[in-house]
Structures are given as C-alpha cells and as structure tokens.
Symmetry: D3
Subunit: 319 residues, 6 copies
C-alpha cells in the first residue's frame, strides 16, 4: 500500500483499481439538474480528496457510511481547480482487514512501548483498591485496544491515533515526578487520576473520523469517564466512600475551570496538581510538534495557546 491521494494529485495515479480509502464524509446531494448523487471525502495518510458517485447510485449508496473503509474502482480527474475521484464501483472493507496507520495521522511513538509504560505506572501504585481499579479497567482487552489507538482530542492536542495513551502516559509520568516535589501528596491517588482522567475520550471521539460522537456531545468525556470509574468501583466494592469521592473529584475537576467544562473547580491538593499537569502536557504537545517556517522562524497559529511559536535556527543557539 502506498500513498494514493498524494499520487493522484501529482498525476501519478489516474485509474484507481481497488485501492482502499477511508470515507470521512458522505452526503446525499442534488445536482443542479435535479439528479441525486453522492458526494464523499476520501482520506488516507497522504491527504484528503473529493469523490463523487454519479452512476450505479441505487446499488452503491447504501453500501457504506462515513467512517468506513472502501475499496474503489474509478478514475481521477481535475475539475474547477480541484482534484476529484469519480467512483464506478466500491466495496466496503472490514476494519480488521486494514492497516489503520495508513489512513490516519498517528503518534510518532511506539504504541506498545506506551502500553508497557502505562502498565508500569499501574504497577507502581501501592494502594490496593486503586491498583485493583486500574487493573480492572485497563485489562479489559477490547477497552485497552481502543484506548491505545484513540486520539486525545479532535484538534486541540494529541489529535492523532495513539494520542490518548501518549498524553495519558506523559501525564502519568509527570504526576509521578511532581508528587515528590510537594509534601503530603497522595501519590497513588494522583497517579491513578492521571491514568483515568481522560478515559471518557474513548467514547467521546470517533476513532476513525476524530469527530465528536453523539454521546460525546451530550454527556462529554469528563462525565463519561466519571461514570466508568463510578460503575467499576460500585460493582467491585473497591474503595471506601471518601477515597471514591477524592478520585472522582479529581476527574470531574481536571479541566480546572467551569468554562472549560469542569462541573467543579479543583478542591484537593491532588486535583489542583492534576489540573496543572494536564494543562502543561496539553499545551506542550502542539507547541513542541509545531512546524516552524524556516526563513521567519515562526509557526502557524497554535490553537490551544492562541499564538504562533518562534523557534530560533539551531545554528544560532550558541552565543
């Protein structure tokens, strides 16, 4: 498999014979002459391209939805200063049969290494109830798989496959370090919250399109995550009521301010620290990964900090 969409745009790929794409949008439309057609957007790792189904409509239009992978037969053309694909036939492909990394932006890090690091952090928790809780949640294989490939956000930060686990591990390690810098921090509580604080994002964001799900829009990852943890604690009788409240409070308050969707502001040492390191890591990822224009030294606007970033040329860095 190679980067088809880039190839089309560079005129190296004209006829499409069974290449696979991810459908990121699908709309039933009316042409100006009144005919119905399907307008799509196709994605792979190398870009995004418009596509249309004009023929064989009745047969093809219900075979797939946005978020599906499809094998396509068709032809590219250039219309109105835009490349597009005219689809003649298509087949839906099962997700399992696809190497998703070819279709979605992905973490630069090794996901299996991130998984080990996360399990190591769980292992480092000494409080038996919290450790058990973390194990119960993360050893659910289907959940862990989904968690490990989810993005951490639609656009703001870690917006790529594996972004959620990357952010979680990064925050977990910061928690582990910073807990030592201040007296009387409940380190196990802090690390546990660090690992759990964003698990609701597994259901808040569609793993293929990175769009918000209906559950994400109506309930939101803070309360979804709260519910997962609450249900697990209740089912297993793992923690006394006070410990439970302390942990759940950290999750509810991790955005720090009402206007960022936290229903509570941080009111424990650990909740204040959790909020700070979450904010630190959420801002640093897009800042560190920002591409900088070589001649000016400036990046484009970085949404989460509301500003562009300047980075000096390497050679200038010594005195």
């Amino acid at each position: 498999m190679y980067d088809c969409i880039e190839a089309i745009k560079q005129k190296r790929l004209k006829k499409i014979n069974g290449e696979t794409f991810l459908v990121s949008e699908k709309h039933i439309l009316k042409a100006r002459n009144g005919d119905e057609y399907v307008g799509l957007k196709l994605k792979d790792r190398s870009g995004i391209i418009d596509a249309k189904i004009w023929n064989n409509l009745l047969h093809l239009k219900d075979k797939f939805e946005a978020g599906d992978f499809v094998k396509i037969t068709g032809e590219s053309n250039y219309y109105n200063d835009n490349w597009q694909v005219i689809i003649k036939d298509l087949e839906r492909v099962e997700e399992e049969d696809v190497d998703k990394k070819a279709f979605l932006p992905s973490t630069q890090k090794d996901i299996s290494k991130l998984q080990s690091e996360l399990l190591g952090l769980i292992d480092s928790v000494k409080h038996p109830g919290l450790k058990k809780l973390l194990e119960e949640i993360f050893t659910d294989e289907e959940f862990f798989e989904r968690f490990s490939h989810a993005p951490a956000a639609k656009t703001m930060h870690h917006a790529y496959v594996g972004g959620l686990i990357e952010h979680t591990v990064s925050v977990g390690k910061l928690a582990s370090q910073v807990a030592l810098a201040y007296k009387d921090i409940d380190r196990d509580l802090l690390v546990s919250c660090a690992l759990l604080h964003d698990i609701g994002k597994v259901y808040e964001l569609d793993p293929m399109t990175f769009n918000y799900t209906t559950e994400g829009r109506l309930i939101g990852h803070i309360v979804i995550g709260y519910t997962i943890v609450h249900d697990k604690i209740k089912a297993l009788g793992l923690l006394n009521r006070e410990k439970e409240m302390l942990l759940l409070h950290c999750i509810l308050a991790h955005h720090g301010e009402y206007e960022y969707g936290s229903p509570k502001k941080p009111k424990t040492k650990e909740a204040v620290l959790m909020n700070m390191i979450d904010m630190l890591d959420s801002r640093m990822q897009p800042v560190v990964d920002a591409k900088v224009d070589e001649s000016s030294g400036w990046s484009d606007l970085i949404k989460i900090i509301g500003k562009a970033i300047y980075a000096p040329k390497k050679s200038k860095e010594l005195l």
Copy 2:
C-alpha cells in the same frame, strides 16, 4: 414551644430551663487566658444567638455536634453589645422528637399538598420507562421524606425547608404547560427531567444547617443527581441508551452555561426548555417573596438577579 431566642433578646427570658435549640455551629476554642471552651451558635425559628460552655467542659463537649438539637439549662446575659447564653448543662435530643418547623425557615406552602402534586405529575407521564423510573426514585420512602424537606439552595432561591419540592413542583407544572406551546416537544421527557433535575441537592446540602456537604462541594448536585438516575436506569434496565442519554443530558445541562457549573450546554429542545424554566422559577421565587421597604418601595439587593426590586404601593395601582 415558643420563640425562645426572640424572647431572650427582648429580655423576657433570662433563665433557660430545658428549652430546645438547634446547634448550627460548634467550635472548640481557646480563651485569652489559655483555657479551653466551646463556642456555639444556637438557632430557632425566631433567630440565632451565641452561646458558650465554660464549665463542665469535659462532660459536655462531646455530647453533640453541629446540626444536632439540644435541650439546654443555663442563663442569658448581655456582653460586649451582644446577647449570649451561658450553658450549664445540656442533653442531645433525637431529631424525631423535635418539630423542625420551629427551628428552620420553611416553605409557606403545604408540603403534603406539594407531594400530591408531584405524584400527580409522575402519574401524567405516559412513557412506561420514564414513569417507572420516576416511581422507583420517588417511592423510596426515606428518600422522598428527605427530598420533601430539603432546601433548594443555601441562599440563592427556595432556601428553606420544603424549598426543593416547592421548586420541583413549580418547574414540573411549568414544563407541563410550556411543552404545549412548541411543536414536537417530548413532553414526558421534559416533565421527567423537571422532576429529577435537582434531586442531587438532597445530598449536596445539609438539611439542618443548609451548608454544603463535602459530597456537595466535591461532586455537586448536578453530577450527584446524574449518578442517582444513571444507577437506577442501569439497575432496572429501564430505558434504551438513546432515551437514557437524552434524559441525562437534560440533567447535566440544566444550568445552561459552563460558568454555572453545567458540564454541557443544552443541545436538545427539551434541554433548552428545561434550562429556561429552571432559570425562570429560580429567579421568580426570591423576586416574588422579597420584602419591600414601605416608604421607598424598594427591596434589599436580591442576589440571584444582582439588583433590588421595586414594587409600587397597592393603592397606586389603578390609573
């Protein structure tokens, strides 16, 4: 039983012989000479008064906590321009043996009538899952009793015994009326949410002191209420996932704006309506009940609207 605290302040009651009071605060303090003593605040319906325990300290100081009722022997005196009670002896009184209305501000309405109205609103719900859910929650006798006597807020609105049920019934009736004014409103969903939206306040506020509980401060009534409804739906398998989300969203979003502690803004017809009628009733109660200075026509500042209210003299109202 009569209004003791007013009587003390009017010098009609000097010796106190077994009168009952509510302890609203209790602090172990050190006098300037280093001696330990207990400082209290005692409440009944007629007011609030300072009290002190200087003697018999070891015997008395652990017999009661803030929120308890106590029968007191002692004497009033006037010190430093303030009335106080010097306690010689006291006994804790069980809550059941006390007529709480004598100690706390209370709704002007008849609580048993409000209970009937609430049950009537449940009865009017036709959707079987929602009706069952409401019945299961409100027919828990202990819960219903607590719900019926809870305040709806610490100070903002309906801050008195029975305030929560009064507000709930008022919002429920508005929901029932206003649902008809707009097309395609899911009336049963709206009324259900109206009845459930504030049930978390039963645990957010202390029923005696009206202070926030630790659970109220760390989790908050929005998420507490969400959890009660979520747990009940899950336990009984009452609603499909979509209906559940629609109901839970209405609860999560009923404050309307992030800055008022809602983790989600309203995103369904019913959630928008719910937010509007909750705001309407929360503002109207303190506005309608505000006392107006007779000569100026103006009330004191009403916190929830940030302004004082003007009300014309009755006689002037005709042309």
Copy 3:
C-alpha cells in the same frame, strides 16, 4: 407565479420575460476594463441569484433601488461556476401589486389568526389605561399592517415575514399563563409589556431586506419602542406617572443584561418575568424549527444558543 430562481438553477428557465424579483442588493461597479455596470442580487422565495446590467445603463440604473420589486427581461447564464441573470430591460413594480409571500421567507402560521389572537390578548386586559393604550397603538391600521408582516430579527429568531407578530403573540400567551404561577404579579402590566416590548422592530428592520435601518442602528428597537409608547401615553394622558414608569421600565429592561443592549436590568417582578419569557421564546423558535440531518440526528449550529441541536429519530422514541 412560480419559483423562478430555482427554475433558473435547474436549467428549466433560460429566457426571462417579465418575471418579478425582489432586488435585495444594488451596487454601481467598475469592470476591470473601466466600464461601469450595475451588480444586483435578486431574490424570490426559492432563492437568491446574481444579476448584472451591462447595457442600457443610463436608462436603467436609476429606475429602482435595493428593496424594490422589478419586472425583468433578460437571460440566465452560467459563469465562473455561478448562475447569473443578464438584464436587458426592467420595470419597477409597486409593492401593492406584488404578493410578497412569493419573495420572502414567511411564518408557517396564519397571520390573520395571529392578529385575532393579539386582539384577544388586548381584550383580556382589564386596566382601562393600559387597554386604551394598546388599542390606540394597534388599531392604527397602517402600523398594524406593518407590524403584522415585520420580521422579529435579522437572523437570530423569527427572521421571516410575520415573525414579529408570531413572537409577540407567543410571548403574550406565555405571559398570560405564567402570570398565574406567581403571587402578586400585575397580569395586565405583564401582558401589555409582552405585546409592546418589540414594537420598535417595525422601524428597526427593513421589511423587505430584513437589514437594519439607519434608525435601527442609531437608536435601536428598545428605545424606538419606548418612544412610541411614551409619546402615546403623553398625548392621551393615559396613565399616572408610576404606571407609565413601570411599563416603560419593562420595555427598556426586556433584554435583561446590559451586554444585550438593555439600558436597565429588570427591577420589578414583571420586568424579570418579561425578560425570562422573551428569552425562552426567542431561543425556542430556532431550536424547534431547526432542520436535523437525518443520519446523524444533528442540526447545524443555531446562532442564538451557540450550539447545534440533537433530535432522535421518531421511531426510536419509545423505550
């Protein structure tokens, strides 16, 4: 008369022979070669289309203004991926000779029924001065005609012909109902304010283009409405000074907050209620009328609530 603009775009109408359109914009422009021409936007109920006058310019360009209706001779063509009309000749048409409903979005409700309902609400007012005031204002035939066809806003809510009377009647009926829910509400004052609160919009918005008028931009509907009511009261000696102030305050404060253009925040029971029901109805109209995407269940962003709306599929609504 049929929907010309849709017909042009569907290639069913090529030659235009005396069809009538509404001119929503008119600009005198310079072509790249330095020639002057007129660029227009033409509207009917079915859409909006660009148009140009290249020939016969001196003769045609002063025959009409934006907001006029014109009978056109010309031809449609497709240029630069856009449909347009090349005008050869045109005649201005008097407004009276046109069925405006064909040109502007319009309320789904029956305007004459809304008029009856409004007159019924006036009739329900018992206070003689307020009733007289309402009658004097609304029985001015020219005003009532204009009021009955005005939009209630440019885009936010009820942005269509008849939107103002629809909103006014809706708010009037809510006022009438909700007045009963709270004690000591001056029902006649509240209903009067409900009927008068937005009358300034008759002069704030152009009835054809829905754009703000210069008077609307410099004075605004709140103060325009205030002035109409003030002048009428003064001219007829209808109310004592206190009643007048109470009514005028309700009008000035109906937006509730300074940042929405109210020069005063609500400071009477009736002004608080007025603000609440105006907000309720302004938000509910666009929420209730929002079109929802069938497959996702989500609408587009609704400006007045700052969010999209989710509505479940009908079939899913039972358990």
Copy 4:
C-alpha cells in the same frame, strides 16, 4: 452657622438648641424591648452623626422625611464607642430658608461663572435649530437652577453640588477644542451633545441625598435625557429627522459600551468623540482631586480607575 457635627465629636457642643441639620436617612425601628423609635442620620458639611428619637415619638415621627432639613433640640452623648444625638424636639425647615452649601459637599468652582460659561457655549453654536433647542432647555429657570446645583454622580465623579454643571462645562470646552483637531467634525452637533448628554441626571439623582431616585433606577439618566430632548424637538419642530437622530444617538451612546448602560455603541464621528471626552473628564476629576498621603505619596483607591494614584512631592519635581 458653624460646623456642628465636628463640634459635637470634639466635645465642644453638648446641648443642641435649634441647630439645623440635613436628615440623610430615617428609619422606624424596634428596640430590643419591643418599643418603637426613630433612627436617623444627620449631616452637615463637617460630617455625619447618628441620632435617635425615643420620646414624643407620635408627635415627631411624621414631621419630616429623609432629605428634609430639621432644627433640633436635644443632647449629644457617647454610646458604644459612637457619638449620637438624642432628639427631644424638632421642626422641619423649608429648603429655601437654608444655605445648602453648609450641608453638602460642593464644587470648588463658582457656580455663576460656570453658568456664564455654559451660556457662552450655547451662544457659540451656529446651527439655528440646535441653538434654539439648547436655549429652550436651559432657559427654563427652574430646570437651570436644578441643573446648576445637581451632582454628576452618586460617588464616581463630580459627586458634589454643582458637579453636573462643572462636568458639563468641562466637557463642552473640551468638545469645542477637540472638534478642531479632526476634519469634518460637526462642531455644533458635538458641542450641543456635550451640553445635553447628562441632563437626565437632574432627575436620576436626589439633589440632597445624592441617592438614585426611583425614576433614576427604573429609567436611568441616558433615557431620561433622551426623552427631554426628544420631547422638546417634537414640541417645537426644531430639527429634521436626520439631525434629530444624530443628536439623540450621541446621547444614547455617550457611555460607549453596553456594559456601562449605553443601549447603542457610538456610530458617528461625533458620538465617538463625545464618548472619549466624557470618559476623559469623568476620570480626570477624581484623579486630580484625590488626596495623597504625604509620606507615601499615594492616594486611597479611586473607584473609577480601580487604582490608587501616586503624586510626587513638589520639591522633587525638578531634576
């Protein structure tokens, strides 16, 4: 007449025999023993003092209201670390019989000179309609008298007798100067607005107590002033509709921002300038008049700028 209240507090005045005071507050109260009494605050130029009427209550309590001047017989005493006056008898004094300057803080400037300056500014207006309008409003003798002694605000700026005319003349002169600094300013419009912009304050604030009147709280000086000007223009047919709107817009927009109570933001050259010079003068008066602590060089907090002011010692000013 001398400064009685200061004299009482310095123990130089014990018996009070017919001295005159301004009543700034009056409350009917209940003593702790249930007896009714009247609590007052008395003011003169030298300060403010508590007073009480215990005896002869029925005879005295309806003889005066807050805002009245009263001649008092009684005695001062020192109670609970506070000076107070026990009133034995009192008589209401007509306002005309009193030299108000003895009772209220007053402008340092000569009011009759300010009146001449204001008339001079009217004289400098060339536009006949505007000049006539200004003359009609300011030559109403009763109005001009009231205007010349009104404060410009309760506390923010120019909060003293004559403050309104002082501020008006200052803004008028700035208008006259600054109009020359920019091209195409309608100088007559700007100066007219400068003179009229705050005339509503004559009715918004009580001239004796500087408290807001009910009209001030419900309608506000911006709309009151707008109404005075509107009524006068209408009565006399003075201006064409456009000129009228331009002038009225300047008045409505002079606070510049919605959150300061302007129902419109400035949208003409003159309205922008008007807003700027009004803000400049409102801030400069309290800044310039602030008393600075000699040793630190700092004033107390100045409300309108939200900060204290630093002023260097004179001797340090040269290099």
Copy 5:
C-alpha cells in the same frame, strides 16, 4: 512612474519591462507535479497582485527577500479568475533608489511639516532633563528618519507611512492643550510621554510590509520603547530616579488596561491623561478617514471601534 498593478488589471499593461514593485510576500512552493517554484505578492500604491517564478529558478530565487524592491521583466495573464504576473527576470533595487510613496499607503499630511511640529513640541518642554532626553532621542538622524516614515500600527489606526509621526504629533498637541484643563498636571512630563509613548513601534513593525518583526512579537513596542528611554536616561544621567519612574510608568501604562498589553494600569495623573488621549486619537483617525457608502451613508466595519460609522450627506446638514 505610474500605477502598474491597476494598469495590469485593466488590461492596459500586458508586457512588463523593468517596472519596479515591492515584494510583500515570498514563498518557496511545490507545484502539484512536484516542481519547485516561487510564489510572490507584488505591491505598489495601486494594489497588490500575485506573481510566480517558474523559470530560471536557481538563478533568481535568492536574489531578493520579502520587503525588497525588484525591477521585473515578465508578462501578466489571467488565470483561474485572478490576474498574475509570470516573472522571467528580476533585479533587486536598493531602497534609496526608490520613491517609497509609490509603493505604500502614506499619510495625507506633509511629513516635513510634522517633523517641524514635533521639534516645536520638544522645544516647548521647559524641564531641562526631559528636554535633553527628547533631543537626544529625536536628533539621532537615522532614528528620526525611520520614526518619521514608520506606520503606527499594522491595521488598527494610522496604518500608513508617516502614521507614527502623525499620531505622535496629534497626541502631543492634545497633551499640550488638555494639560491646561486640569490643575497640577506636570505638562512637561505629559508632553514628553506623548512624544515617546510609541517610539518602540519603529522596531515593532517592518517599515515596508507593516508586519510585526520578531522583536515586536517577542518584546513588543511598549517594552522596546521603555528600554530605549531607560537606556538613554542611564547613559546620560539625565533624570533623578523619581522623574525617571514617572516617565517610564506613563509609557508602560499608556494602553490603559492589561488586556491591551500594558503591564501596569495608569497610576498618576499624567498616565491617566496619556491613556485617554492616546485612545482618543487612535480611534478618531480611522473613524474620520473611513469611506462612507454614498447611498446608505454607512462605512464598512471599523475594527478599532467594532462598528461601522454613519455620516449624513453634506446637503442635509442644515436644519
């Protein structure tokens, strides 16, 4: 020299033979076929146009940067509804050899007259230290030249060659006038600050492209200007520490509010006045210079006031 870009767009200029343009942007790009090319934007006084270098790339691409002037050989064409220039050859032109007024929007005023006025204002300062400081800064010839041609902002106000000196002189004259309106203003301090408040803009903005420089983005004109004045005072030992702080405070606080980038709010009489007159002049320039649509009387949105401006037709101005 004539207006080439307008000529190209009006088809009067096809072949370009050594005309000079300002390069306002320069990007190295990849074509869809993978070839590298240079995309430029060329400016002169009459407009802006796209340009491309396809041929001779290696030879041409390093001969110039954004901000340079270039003499061009090439051809105009019309592509994708847009005019562009295909460059065949180019030469960099030294800035000294160019009449910049042909390439950049420029003040309507006479720069040498503005320079005289500025020197006259310096002359009017009597305090020897301040006068010396101003002379030292403004008599640096290179600095004065740069200052005299700098814009005062990228887009907000005075965004043209000479804008900075025009704004500085305007604010200086206002300072001089308004200082007399209030008592105890240190007129020399105020005028000095007026002349110095924006000198940091000389380095904050690129004099050719009006874009922010890296120094402007990282340090900002407020602190750059502060540093210039601080360094000069330190180098020459001109002022005592108190006078220095008073002057530097005026510079730091001249934006008035933290949210406009001032690290301090105004805390001296002169700093409050400085902030007011800077705001007045910054708003009035774009308001006064706004072009108004002849038929409607309304301008486009003016960014700095957030509103469009209305100006009546001249002929209507009398009565």
Copy 6:
C-alpha cells in the same frame, strides 16, 4: 527573645521593659478632643497588636518610621475588647542588631540550603553566556542576601521571608526535570529563566512590611526583572541579540496572560513551559500549606485558587 505579643494577649506580660517590636504601620492621628497622638501596629512572629503614643509625643514621633524596629517601654491594657500597648518611651534599633526571623513569617526550609541548591542549578547551566549572566547577577552579595530573604508575594503565595528563593529553587528544579519530558527544549534557557523570572520582586516588595514599593506599583516586578537582566547583558556583552530576546521574552511572558500583567503571551516552547511551572508552583505552595479544620476536613478560602481545600483525615486514607 520570646513571643511578646502572644504573651501580652494571654495576660502573661503586663509591663514592657525594652522588648523589641517591628513597626508595621505608623499614623499621626487626632483624638476626639483634638489632641494629636501616634497610632501604631507592632508585630513580632507571634502576632500583631495596636499601640499608642500619647505622652512625650514631640520627642518620640520622629524617631522611627513604619518598617523600623523599636525597643519599647510601656504597658499593655485591654480597651474596647482589644489589647493595646501604651508606649512611654522607645528607641529605634538597627536592622543588623535584630534577628528578623523573630518578627516575620519565614520559610520552613533552610535558607542556606536553598542558596546551595540555587548555586547548584546555576552550575548545571552549560551555555557559557547564560551561566556567566546568572553568576554575575547572583554573586552580587548584597543582591543575593536581599533575594534570599525576600517574600515572593504580598499575600498570594510564598508570602514569607525566604519565599522568593524557595519558589525560585522549586521552579528551577521543576524546569530541570520537565525539560527532559519534551523534545528540543533549550534546557539552559529554561533553567536560566526559572532562576531569573521573579528577581524583580526584590524591589517590588518591601522586605519588612511585604507591602508594594512605589517602584513595584509603577513599574512592577516583570519589567524591573527584565531591566536588571537587560542591563547586565548590555554591560557585559554576554549574549547575541537572539538569545537575549529569547530570555527576555520568557521573563516578560511568564505570567502567561495579559490580565495577570504579562505584556506578552508566551510564544516560545520555553516561555510556555516557564508559564506552566510558575503557575503550578504558585498554586501548590498555599494549597499544600493550607491549614485544614480537623472536624470538617476543609481549609479556609485559598485566594490563588478561589476555593477552599479538602483534605481527608490520615486514618481514613487506607481503603
């Protein structure tokens, strides 16, 4: 030396014979009888107490200022429910002769250990220019002494002797750790900024009273610190212009938002990190050190986070 003020309040110290106190306020006042006297506040580590000088006024009143230490002869008494000291005689004591720790709240940490840690952090910087800069600034003995005993704020965080160095070292160590968590961080730049970011506080706050100095109020610690670093770089020619700007930008932007007094928002990786760890440490110190009420588990309101903190009882911490 022992804790005098506590001793007075516990009636253990009546006669004062040459005890030393810190004068935190001094005011020349007028008694009600017109006599002049001096009102003081005296502080030591155990508390604060009122004091008065009635006798020997002319002799004593100019012997000391606020911020001085004084040896006192006098007597304590209890007046109006308040303890006070009546001073008969006093002598000013030189600061060097006093153990300041007895008079001011102080860090719990060992200041000489913090100094070593700070020097260790300087030592860890490899970039020669930055290392030299840090050494030059911190090896100035007088500066280092003052820095080591300064508070970090008046009230918000680290508001005690040694608070500034404690905060600086804490932030320096966090910088050192966190720099490793993200790629391409200029660790030396970040650590340098961490050590320098608050040095302006040495001059912003009075080391005895913790009040803001005039320089602190007019210039502020951000720009004062910027100036120290700028002057040192300039004097020694230590860094190239780019490195200088990057360091100075980190200092200017360390508060992160305009509304917290930063004239620039963070625009480099290191500036974003600096802002995050400064915020983290500023919030954690008061949170960690907050005293919690034993029975409720709640602290008082903590200003910097706007909330009280809950901490569970130790015994409850295990499951």
